[in-house]
């Protein structure tokens, strides 16, 4: 463990080009996936929480079930979509960071949506009626309800980020761990472990945790200042 920590510090301090490339790709893939997942998941959660329509419960049940979607299954679905014979095969996305983002988006959406539904649910009716009685339009009401549930929603975004930043199955399946192209921290850890370089694997793990810690802190800071008028 101590050797891993030393090596992690050394890798960062010496400005190892490869390690920075892997770090930035990991962040780019996971942050993009979380951003897309949030842009889809939060409005979807607001819609499901505020609108009544037949089959709403069924849709919610499906979303809650997909929160536990195995990464390899998400990877397989995207693989089938983008492989040469798949419906998106013409785009040649397999073994690219875009494919990795697509797989991670699939994992993030149910988590962000499900946890946002939980965050909004319970107080949405009183909040929505308060907004309406104060003259808010439909979209303004939805924004207010989402804003009031921001603590829970950000927790959902953090959970989603944690899930995809640390997952290996989906990105390995559609990214392939290609050096200087699709290698991210988790796939690099697998590679180093398979090669018996446990200290290097541990160092990469420590870097992953530190990055996760920094991103979580930044996201938590978002809670403050949302919805202020002055």
């Amino acid at each position: 463990m101590g050797e891993g920590l030393k090596q992690a510090v050394a890798l960062l301090a010496t400005g190892d080009k490869d390690i920075y490339e892997i770090m930035f790709l990991s962040l780019r893939v996971s942050l993009t996936a979380v951003m897309i997942g949030t842009l889809i998941g939060v409005p979807l959660a607001a819609f499901l929480s505020l609108c009544r329509f037949p089959g709403r419960r069924l849709v919610e049940n499906v979303i809650f079930s997909l929160m536990g979607l195995p990464p390899v299954l998400a990877g397989l679905v995207i693989y089938l979509l983008i492989s040469r014979k798949g419906p998106l095969g013409y785009a040649s996305l397999l073994w690219t960071p875009t494919a990795m983002i697509m797989a991670q988006v699939l994992l993030v959406i149910p988590i962000v949506t499900g946890l946002a539904i939980v965050a909004i649910r319970g107080k949405e009716r009183m909040l929505a009626e308060t907004a309406l009685t104060l003259g808010a339009s439909g979209p303004q009401t939805a924004l207010m309800v989402v804003g009031e549930a921001r603590t829970g929603i950000i927790a959902g975004v953090l959970t989603g980020f944690g899930r995809v930043f640390a997952e290996v199955g989906a990105v390995m399946m559609v990214g392939g761990n290609i050096e200087h192209n699709t290698r991210v921290l988790t796939t690099a850890i697998v590679l180093e472990t398979r090669q018996g370089s446990f200290d290097a694997a541990l160092a990469l793990g420590i870097i992953l945790l530190v990055l996760s810690f920094i991103i979580s802190g930044l996201l938590l800071n978002l809670q403050r200042g949302v919805g202020r008028y002055v």
Binding site: T133, G135, Q140, V230
Partner: protein, 244 residues
């Protein structure tokens, strides 16, 4: 000048239950109308219909001479001319200032103009100096006063109040009642107040409406209503002989 509200043949049904039945009634502008009645008599249903939060099952409602609509831009335009305070108002997880300013923000009122109105409203409910406090940390009485300021700052033509003092201590009740009287007097604002408190009804009402099992049993000027009720159900309710 047209009345604040005109109800014609308004009924509200929830499944088999008829929660409200008002064959016809007009609520005059500039007055304090107090709605009384036992639990489940349809008071809140009436208030929700008046505030366009839900449509009546049958009948028509006119607000200041305009037919009520319950959807889209038409509803929003009418709803922005009135405001409602609930029995247990929801405070947004923001400062007192931001809570009071919310209705102005959604109307896209300029910040400088909003700041002036908000300061006046906060002052009127006696909460000056508490602008920066997180509204969710306020006591029940303070939260109710913020809710009143939040509604008042919009300068609505009609203010609907659903048991605004039900969960308050006597001192807070006096403060809230004084605010209600003051805004009615100062701004000539129409107020429709639902209450269980007959003493409060007597203190505040220009007109009293008595609901019983969803029926509008009796209405009249406060003095006459309390001294010489016409309907035996009203008499029974006022003397406490009718147990509900």
């Amino acid at each position: 000048m047209s009345d604040a509200f005109t109800l014609e043949g308004v009924t509200k049904r929830y499944g088999q239950l008829e929660a409200l039945n008002v064959p016809g009634h007009k609520l005059e502008r500039g007055k304090i109308h107090v709605v009384i009645g036992p639990n489940g008599s349809g008071k809140t249903s009436l208030l929700r219909i008046l505030n366009l939060l839900e449509p009546p099952t049958t009948g028509t409602l006119t607000f200041c001479g305009q037919p009520a609509t319950y959807q889209g831009a038409g509803r929003l335009a009418l709803q922005r001319r009135m405001s409602m305070v609930f029995q247990r108002p929801v405070m947004l997880h923001r400062s007192v200032y931001d809570n009071v300013a919310y209705g102005l923000k959604v109307r896209r009122v300029a910040r400088s103009e909003a700041a002036k109105s908000v300061a006046q409203a906060i002052d009127m409910v006696g909460l000056s100096g508490m602008e920066k406090q997180l509204a969710t940390t306020l006591s029940g009485g303070e939260a109710q006063r913020v809710a009143l300021a939040r509604a008042m700052v919009l300068n609505p033509e009609v203010l609907l109040l659903d048991e605004p003092t039900a969960s308050l201590d006597p001192a807070s009740v006096v403060i809230v009642e004084n605010i209600i009287k003051e805004i009615n007097r100062q701004f000539d604002m129409t107020i429709i107040l639902v209450t269980h408190n007959l003493f409060q009804a007597r203190r505040l009402a220009d007109e009293v409406l008595f609901l019983w099992q969803g029926q509008l049993v009796e209405t009249g000027p406060a003095e006459k209503f309390f001294l010489k009720p016409k309907d035996p159900r009203t008499s029974g309710f006022l003397t406490g002989e009718v147990v509900y």
